[in-house]
Amino acid sequence: MIRFDDLTLRWKIPLRVMFAVVGTAIAVTAALVAWEYDSLRQNREGHARSLGKVLANTLVAPVLHDDIWRAYEILQSAREPNPAAPTLQASIVLVTDANYRVFASTTPRTFPIGSSPAELGGAYAELRARLKQHSPTEQQVVEPPGSALYFVMSPLVADGVALGHVIFGYSKTPFLPQFVDLVERAILVTLLVLTVILPVSWIWARKTGEPLVRLAGAMSHVPDELEAATRADIPAGKDEIGQLWQAFRRMVEELKSKQELESQMLTSERLAAVGRLSAGIAHEINNPLGGMLTAIKTLQRHGPSDELTVQTMASLERGLQQIRNTVAALLVETKTKDRPFEPADVEDVLILVEAKLAERAVNVVTEGQLVHSLPLPATLMRQILLNLLLNAIEAANQAGMIKLGIMADKGLLRLSVCNDGEHIPEDQMAYLFEPFATRRAKGHGLGLWVVYQIVRQLNGGLTVFSEPGYTTLHIEIPYDETQ
């Protein structure tokens, strides 16, 4: 069972409007019908009163002259059917004399001449009682309880004396067919109006409810699909819905940046953990490694010099040296004293990668330059640049392009390297700077890890933008301007 409260606004608002429209239509129709019925009744009573007066005046002479036939003919003419207004048709037309005896009637078999209508009892006895109570020269409308008729009694007055009465009896229910007809017409008109108004108000109500429904739909995407949440089509008005929409969008934006922040923090925390782990391992490896290399050196110098030993020692030394290099790469040391980073360093690095550039026919465009030397360790800076450029050359399309941007200003060095190669998929972004996370067949995957370690140790920041068509690595490293 569906409760009204659970209904969606898409239905609730139109339904409420429908109820209001139909309710109004019914109320208006009922009021009109009631008013019409009342006026029909008043109309008939007015008609009966005036006809009664006219007949009473006309009948004075025949009653005075005892001219029953003439009185009958006059009554008969008053009772002639009028198809245009059947409700104005009296069912009883009667002339009584001063003693409430029938003088003439249109239905002589019911009301024989000279008889007293009171003998019929019921309503007619009530009429006589009323005649006695009231002034006989006064027109009266009598509705005897329990009778199907109501009566209009008009006195025949000659010289201030009531000679008798003209009595019209009207059925209380002759309006029924007319009333039914009236109600039918009213319902028809109401339905016609409703067929126009209902769809229009339905559409209006739907339009009113629709933005709210869409807003609710958009909200249901929070917090999992924030991008979808802000795509809802909601009119940007200044009404409450517009305000709500604006507030909702602000909230989603904030949620989005919070989520990004969280994922960045997650990434850098992971990288930090990896860094600590690798540094720890490197230290643990470095100590015995140093011992082993020293032992090999000693053996080469003082040990047996047969060929097999020399060859074995040489191969052991090479292997251990490779381990040392790898461990050294993992352990980025910035503590060593170094010369400042100079504009010539950038040129050196560009010269260093020329061979690689030529190999892949990649073009380098440099934007900006270093004007003077910066108080940053030159070796590490060259390493950063070299790694970035080599990566970019590898990633760039064959005969593609690399853009190198350098700018130093207000204590901040900005480096950016952009290539036009295939972009980095979203799911790999988080692991981009982890060691051995390479996607390529060549290389050990430590290039970006080294860059990241150096930048971190220099208190800098690193951002990757990768979209189809280009990938940019952007590095910011602060330096001490006062030196």
Partner: protein, 311 residues
């Protein structure tokens, strides 16, 4: 039967309003004269100027002794008479026999189709022109009728204390005969019925009895039989209880001093109706065979009844 004084007072005010009021004045000769005077003034004003230049029109009074409410028939009949007589003819209709009789006696009319009863009453002032022949004889009957749902009444005596409809106080069949009948049975016609009223036409007596307004009525047999053919619904609502003996059919009469040439011409025209195709058509419409010269002796029985009642 005379009306109360109140009636006369009212009639003075209502002199121009209708026949019903005027008849009430018949008790007072002075008032009758005044009424006549007014009628004459009315006539002089209404007479078309073009007709005054030629011979004055022949004025014929009509009464409800036949179904005189058929206007189109009257036009045809008038046209036929004008063609036959070679002069204008005017039909004059009034609400009661008495008015026509008065107009005739006052020389405002030349001829009239009248009931036998006023004819015998004013025989000195009137001349018999012709008598219509109905069902082969210049005779008709008075019918006593009751509503069709009254299956028990066999005679007028059973209507004691009931409501009775007369046609016209100057009608033989619709007033004189039933009163004579009661008188002969030793009843006082004035007190016999609880209420009685005049409808001023035989056809309306049939209607009044048919709807039950009156418990009985007295009607011209010729009119009843004609209605039975033309409006059977009216007569079907009534039942004929008894019929009178044969009485002289309502005759055409002339005022005593009508010019002899007019008298002869009109009589000839009437008598010739049955020998002319158009005339026969008119007679057929009236359900009459023709006209006969007739004899005043035809109305002896009516005269005897009138005399008996007058005593």
């Amino acid at each position: 039967m005379c009306y109360a004084d109140v009636t006369i007072e009212k009639a003075e005010n209502g002199i121009c309003h209708g026949s019903a009021y005027r008849i009430a004045m018949t008790c007072n000769p002075n008032r009758v004269r005044r009424s006549l005077l007014l009628s004459m003034i009315g006539w002089a004003a209404l007479a078309p100027a073009s007709l005054c230049a030629e011979a004055p029109p022949l004025r014929i009074g009509l009464t409800p002794v036949f179904l005189d409410d058929q206007v189109s028939f009257l036009v045809q009949w008038r046209v036929w008479l004008e063609k036959r007589l070679g002069r204008n003819v005017q039909f004059v209709q009034r609400g009661s026999y008495r008015e026509i009789v008065d107009l005739l006696r006052g020389e405002r009319l030349d001829f009239a189709w009248l009931c036998g009863y006023p004819f015998v009453r004013f025989r000195r002032d009137l001349k018999l022109v012709a008598v219509p022949s109905w069902r082969g004889q210049p005779l008709y009957q008075s019918y006593l009728i009751v509503p069709a749902d009254d299956r028990t009444t066999r005679s007028i005596l059973e209507l004691r204390g009931k409501v009775f409809a007369f046609s016209d106080p100057d009608s033989n069949s619709g007033y004189l005969y039933p009163n004579y009948l009661l008188h002969r049975q030793g009843e006082n016609p004035v007190l016999f019925f609880s209420r009685s009223f005049f409808t001023w036409a035989h056809r309306k007596v049939v209607e009044a009895v048919g709807v039950g307004l009156a418990d009985g009525g007295s009607v011209d047999g010729y009119v009843w039989e004609t209605l039975a053919q033309t409006y059977p619904d009216l007569t079907r609502a009534t039942r004929v209880v008894s019929r009178s003996g044969d009485l002289g059919f309502p005759p055409f009469v002339a005022r005593r001093n009508v010019p002899q040439s007019d008298f002869r011409a009109f009589r000839a025209a009437l008598l010739d109706m049955s020998s002319d195709p158009a005339g026969r058509e008119l007679l057929a419409y009236l359900r009459l065979d023709g006209m006969v010269q007739g004899d005043e002796a035809l109305f002896e029985e009516i005269a005897r009844m009138a005399k008996t009642l007058a005593k």
